[in-house]
């Protein structure tokens, strides 16, 4: 009974790692689609979001079955409840990738990103992906040290997000309001994506150590101003 339970729990963890990989690839390709105005790649990201939603439903069902049939308590119960929550975060990260892809499609055949902002967007995307890549290895190996690194990557995303706003409101911004709206939304998508990644890692830390890592709320929920 115990061996079956552990095997099923391992399978849920594997699915979460798979889902993290899908989400990472989706956001990476969404960024390429955005910067290179690649309509086909943007469509791929949107299709993949639907696949990610399906994996999420499978994980929900598996967790539900585990709860119903195995009646776990203590740490086992905590692991399953946390897995449900992690799957919800990952599913949302897939949505955010699709949102980036939709902006790419909306401005096609132009790129939605003006030349002055390409570097910032690319850096933001890379930092956000560093978060999700580490998130995957935190889930796979329950690597607590990795989880700490990931908070630093999230700080980079937040800093770049602030840089982005500074560029948009500077006198040198010549593109007017519509591209500024696109960039505001894109900045928010990357920032939220990284936030969800950090949340996932924190939840793994909580399951492994029994203590939820805390930071001052002002830092954790940092917004534009």
């Amino acid at each position: 009974m115990r061996a079956t339970f552990q095997a099923e729990l391992d399978r849920v963890r594997d699915q979460l790692v798979t889902m993290t990989g899908q989400v990472e690839l989706a956001m990476s390709r969404a960024t390429t689609a955005l910067l290179d105005a690649d309509y086909t790649l943007a469509d791929w990201v949107i299709d993949t979001d639907r696949e990610i939603d399906t994996v999420k439903t499978e994980i929900d069902d598996a967790c539900f079955q585990l709860l119903a049939r195995q009646q776990p308590v203590a740490t086992d119960l905590r692991v399953i409840v946390t897995a449900l929550s992690i799957a919800a975060d990952l599913e949302r990260m897939g949505d955010l990738g699709a949102h980036v892809a939709k902006v790419a499609k909306m401005r096609f055949p132009e790129s939605a990103v003006p030349p002055e902002l390409r570097a910032t967007v690319l850096e933001m995307a890379e930092a956000a992906q560093a978060v999700v890549a580490k998130t995957g290895s935190v889930i796979a190996g329950q690597d607590i040290e990795r989880a700490k690194e990931l908070e630093a990557d999230d700080d980079i995303v937040d800093r770049l997000h602030k840089d982005l706003f500074r560029i948009l409101i500077a006198e040198t911004w010549v593109y007017g309001v519509e591209p500024a709206i696109d960039m505001t939304l894109l900045g928010r998508y990357y920032e939220r994506f990284a936030d969800h990644g950090v949340r996932v890692a924190r939840q793994v830390v909580y399951v492994v150590t029994g203590v939820m890592p805390t930071r001052p709320p002002a830092e954790w929920n940092d917004e534009q101003g």
Copy 2:
């Protein structure tokens, strides 16, 4: 045993209804703080968000205890798992109210909303609040008909969100980029707030009927364009 279980489950439902009321009041006051540039009221909203987070933690703990001690199956299990998910949505709605309040504070003593957009913002806020008010009565009474009305309110929010973008990119927009950035983020906060409200109501419908209400994904995940 069964009576105790039902009493504890009722208590979780009451807490969810309380949380929905807190979230509704917070967003209502955040809107007033935004339109009237009321710094004190904005601070109240931010403080209330912390209280909402506390209620969320209490609901999580209560659900965890119910799972651990009562080992529920079938519908009871589904109700508890759904309660966890609903609490997460409501907590996020509280965050979004705090985000609106932070924009109000950032532009104080001015209002962040230019005169031309006051009516649109007020209508968006009212439609978003209609969603959450009905969400509360759906949770309290498991009223499936009410849940359907709520989707229509969400359509109003989406329509107003599109109107907002049209106003921002029109030739008549004289306020430049920075207020457009504020309005883009504010529009997104209200739209996400209503989306979470609809999600909560759908989950209640799912628990009551066993069928998750569906709409075309394009409508459900509607974005700027």
